[in-house]
Amino acid sequence: MMTDIIQKVKNLSIGFRSKKGDEILILKNISTNIKKGETVGIVGESGSGKSTLALAMMGYVKHGLYTIGGECQFNSSNLLKMKSKDLEKIRGRKIAMIPQNAGQALTPNLKIGYQIDEALQLHSDLDEREREKKISELLNKVRLPSPETIALRYPHELSGGQQQRVAVAMALAGTPDLLLLDEPTTGLDVTTQAHVLELLNFIAKDTGTSMVYVSHDLGAIAQVSDRIIVMYSGEIVLEGPSRDILKKPIHPYTYGLLKSIPKLSLAGLPESMPGSQPQPGTIQGGCSFFDRCNFSDDNCKNNSPKLEFLKDLNTSVRCFNYEKLVNENEVSQTVNKIKNKSLDKEILNLSEVSISYAKQKLLDQIFNRISDENPTVKDINIDIKKGETIALVGESGSGKSTILKSIAGLLRTKDGLIRFDEKRNLSSDLKERDPNDLRIIQLIFQNPDESLNPNHTVEEIIAQPLKLYFGLKGEELKKNIIDLLQKVRLGEFYMSRYPRQLSGGEKQRVAVARAFAAKPDIILCDEVTSALDVSVQAAVLNLLQQLKEDFGTTYIFVSHDLAVVRAISDRVAVLYQGRLCEVGPSNDVYKFPSHPYTEVLLGAVLEPDPDIKPKLVAEDIVEERPPEKGCSFQGRCSRIVGDICKKEIPPWQLTDSGNAIRCHIPIKELQKQQF
């Protein structure tokens, strides 16, 4: 039925010219149809061409790229050949975009109300008063509190989740037939993400709009889409009904991808996929996934497979050997269980630690003190055992990175003691630590692009700690560098490369090698996998685990991703607004009873399984600072028991398995409520 098709992509190729003059393809001969009322998920890693495809569906090609062939048909006219005057009538009115990063996509000097009004002026016939009413309606629809005041604010005055909702409202203003969503929840907190997805699902049902949902996150895709398109280096490799693709993927890439995602229900590290996605223009013929495939043969090396439609499965697949996978069972996850050694020697102890970002007034500077009644981080008591991996989890603003900074010495503590090995006091900041104190604690940062000096070669990067702490020189230095590179599974030839010549996963490996070069006792990992692609993430997690077993290092692992934390950590500490909520062995933290905040976090995790829906327990309000009195979570808690929560700091309670929960509700009662 042709009439049902709303957007038809036909043989689309988009690319750019390299400096040598070669034509390099970002999209290779893409064909697909978007039907009325359906939600299509386009999934792929960074560089797979998914965003380019979504933008092309609006007739937009980024500066530097150009259309090489094919078309994007909307109402039987090709958007890619349309004049900008006609495009202006379709964009925002027929097809609207919800961008990845609403914080950057809203114009900073214009008020929220104006930006929505602009869309209404362009795409509706309403007069001024009707438009004003409509703006409130739209802001209400995306569930923003007090629309009238929000409309008068500037984008930077809203939280990330609120900005994303505004972007949704703006897209809905033109009542489009097709909504394109480009990673709309990436970069939001887990709970906010779950709420925004739920809102999008509601809007899809409510308005009957077709949606194209672009994301790297199979968990998010699983929650919204009817059909999934999997892209790999500019090609569609698999396309079919969402449930089939997630439960029984018949393309090796999708199969491997699903296996490499850590799941909440399973402790232990997922299997990793080797290598990374090839750069555009580097594939020499043959299947683009050949290097990383477990099912490949000689045919795959020399010939590139065509996208083949399988009628009985209602699925298209680009693979010679898909039949090998048709007979595989559902994606069964094999995990490498973490071996817990006997952990009894304490290595780092935080007692009563408070950290404040308050500016020191003149008087405080003179007396060298910090006066802040309500510091960002307060009452942190954790003892960390030698050789364990302890994870700090929480949403942004929970103080997890702040605590890391204090341990590393980048931020001095306000009160309390940080002690290493029971005697050495590390409460001071960097300036007062001796070189050995600095050596024993090393950091690995979230984004290797920013933490590696772009003007240093890999050799120089890894040589720095070796020279600084051990005074190595010449042959010995070189031998050590090669040794370290091998430990992180990088060859000797990487020594002369610069960070820009490495892939994301390789850069992070170099950062790991640099941290281990100092032979530290403790390594602080700050969201080390969140900037990496899913298929690379598992490999880095496995590497970290291997190194830890070899060297007996202790990890303090900060992450917002509860599934990753579940995979790698022995113990978990849950933080809200800089206060501890729950501490315990990870097996127990992930089981009920839980602190109400842990419950919220666990409920919001998105799994790549259409049958597991997130449970939204609490509102996703953003609190600017911790409450002055009482429980830190009182503002959002759905299980609040009364005045006591607002007045008194809750006591620590122990569960049978040794899990500590800080709540006024008795453990038994919590257990009853949560089952």
């Binding site: 202006e88 964009r91 925002g92 114009t107 900073p108 000097n109 362009l122 795409h123 500037y154 930077h156």
Partner: protein, 318 residues
């Protein structure tokens, strides 16, 4: 907000105070002083003593600084050595002349710079951009004494359209001055406009590549509306500070150009009083130029603060 303004103004005064001390100490440390310069070979014995008494140089340095500073605040900078007239009478017409030159250059140069910058950015890599950018780079790289000399050669000597150098009394009226300033203004404006146009170009290009401009396009906002509503307000904010520095540079006297054209402005006065070892005038000039820089930068900062909603609300909340 008010607190912030007061704080910035106070900081400005502290800057000026430090500048005044540096210039005072500087002139003190230099060998020789006003009297030795003035009396030349007669600078000994009774005459020198008399001169010291007359100019008040026989009291300790800090006392002289205090009385000098107190007078300077009231606009009295003492006497110029060369002309033996009050410095404020020497400065007055010079400041006026520099103001005339600067404002003419500003009123012509800034609008042209903005327009050229925006055109080159919007037609990036196309013919208008390539043409204008080539010219601006050319204008930027030719030193002003060469362009000024060429202007004199072509316009004044070959074509005989305008006077080549300014030979009017310092305190001439505005109308009489007008034909004389055209060439200096062109010479200055060329460099200034080229610099600013390139700054505006890169700023506009940066904003054009931003996600919010892409969003505006995808929202169906017509091109020119997008340019005026979404691009320019954000692109021109950073230009304010550059414009301010340019204005301060202009007011401070465009030394080379003024010398080439023999223009009676502040810049030439600086050169003259330094070569005449007219230390009181040098001191006065240093203070005046410093105050121009401080106040123009202060104004620019406050303007940026007012126009940038991000900074505005931030300051109010804190």
């Amino acid at each position: 907000m008010l607190f912030l303004i007061i704080k910035r103004i106070l900081l400005g005064f502290i800057t000026l105070f430090i500048v005044s001390i540096i210039t005072f100490v500087g002139t003190e440390v230099l060998p020789g002083d006003a009297c030795t310069t003035y009396l030349e070979r007669q600078a000994f014995g009774e005459q020198l003593e008399a001169c010291y008494r007359r100019l008040g140089l026989n009291v300790p340095a800090y006392e002289r600084y205090v009385s000098w500073a107190l007078n300077a605040i009231q606009g009295d900078f003492g006497y110029s050595l060369s002309g033996e007239m009050p410095i404020k009478d020497v400065l007055g017409p010079r400041i006026k002349n520099s103001l005339v030159l600067a404002s003419a250059a500003i009123f012509i140069g800034i609008p042209i710079a903005l327009i050229l910058g925006i055109i080159t950015a919007l037609w990036r890599d196309k013919l208008p951009d390539v043409a204008i950018s080539t010219v601006t780079i050319f204008a930027m790289t030719i030193p002003e004494f060469i362009s000024a000399t060429l202007l004199i050669l072509i316009i004044a000597i070959w074509l005989e359209w305008l006077p080549g150098i300014v030979i009017v009394p310092t305190d001439v009226s505005f109308l009489e001055l007008l034909p004389n300033i055209i060439l200096p203004v062109v010479a200055i404006a060329m460099i200034m406009t080229a610099h600013m146009a390139r700054m505006v170009r890169s700023s506009v290009i940066q904003v054009m590549a931003s996600e919010y401009v892409q969003m505006a396009i995808l929202k169906g906002v017509p091109y020119w509306k997008m340019v005026f509503k979404h691009v320019l307000p954000n692109a021109l904010l950073p230009a304010i500070n550059v414009v301010a520095l340019t204005i301060a540079w202009l007011l401070g006297g465009v030394v080379v150009t003024e010398v080439v054209f023999n223009y009676p402005g502040l810049g030439r006065l600086v050169i003259e009083s330094i070569s005449n070892r007219d230390l009181p005038t040098v001191q006065a000039l240093a203070i005046i130029l410093a105050s121009i820089y401080v106040s123009i930068n202060l104004l620019a900062d406050l303007l940026t603060l007012m126009l940038n909603p991000r900074l505005k609300t931030l300051q109010i909340r804190k």
